[in-house]
Amino acid sequence: MRIDSRSPYSTGAVSTDTVSSDTDIDLSHRVTVELDATWTTTVWNDPVNLMTYVTQVFRRYFGHSAEEAERLMLLVHNEGRAVVATGPREEMERHTEAMHEYGLWATVTRADS
């Protein structure tokens, strides 16, 4: 999905004479990546939304194929919820806000909680 694919480690080799400063940068990047990777947007079943609406929201907002949108909708319907996105917290909050605008019940969760 909309996970930022830019990698902080792909910026080139570290030359030996700048190891200490580059190590610092790498460490900060590593921390950021860990925080970024551990959040999800979950959509929950609710008694009002129509199945066809939920499917179409997933297609239109996330750009999913009909099959993937249907699969996620059925997860919501049958299991009570579905993780619809994984990534940085800010982005997961933005998706959640968008789901709320469409009238779906969505929450933000740490992926490992």
């Binding site: 129509l50 609406y53 239109r60 959640t96 605008e101």
Partner: protein
């Protein structure tokens, strides 16, 4: 009952005079109340297990959501007001964009009525009452509009 036709990239929704008046009245009430505490049901808790994060999310998102919900309601009201008069009521022509305005608004209207009707689970029966009838009608209207919009809308990203 409402009739819906597809014409190229447009869908045409025909509402009776009564349906047209009813929808307009519901939207007027919605617009007046959407920024108050009475319609909290429209703003789900984004962090059920974290009251602080929930409050912060609400603080950062609520006014924007209220603004956009109000704007969407305004667009639906305008669409209703600028429809063409036909012998049975009013005909409203809509494009794929209606998915991002009409559908969230119909969802919110149904959410508000469901809350009043005490509908909490998928299989809860709907009261045979005037409110229950309106809820059922809005559900059928939304379902049929979705079906029509599906044929003209899909693939268009909102961005």
């Amino acid at each position: 009952m409402t009739s819906i036709e597809i014409d190229g990239a447009e869908i045409r929704v025909e509402l009776s005079e009564l349906e047209h008046r009813l929808l307009t009245t519901l939207l007027t009430d919605y617009t007046e109340q959407v920024d108050g505490d009475g319609l909290a049901v429209l703003f789900p808790n984004a962090y059920p297990d974290d009251p602080d994060a929930a409050a912060e999310f609400a603080r950062y998102t609520r006014s924007g959501l209220v603004d956009r919900k109000t704007a969407n309601a305004g667009i639906v009201v305008r669409d209703l007001a600028t429809g063409a008069n036909i012998p049975t009521g009013m005909r409203i022509s809509l494009t794929a964009e209606a998915f991002d305005t009409w559908m969230p608004i119909l969802t919110d209207l149904r959410r508000i009525l469901a809350d009043r009707l005490g509908i909490e689970h998928d299989d809860d029966p709907v009261d045979e009452s005037p409110v229950g009838d309106v809820y059922q009608w809005l559900g059928e209207l939304q379902w049929r509009m979705l079906e029509a919009l599906d044929t003209v809308a899909i693939g268009d990203a909102p961005q």
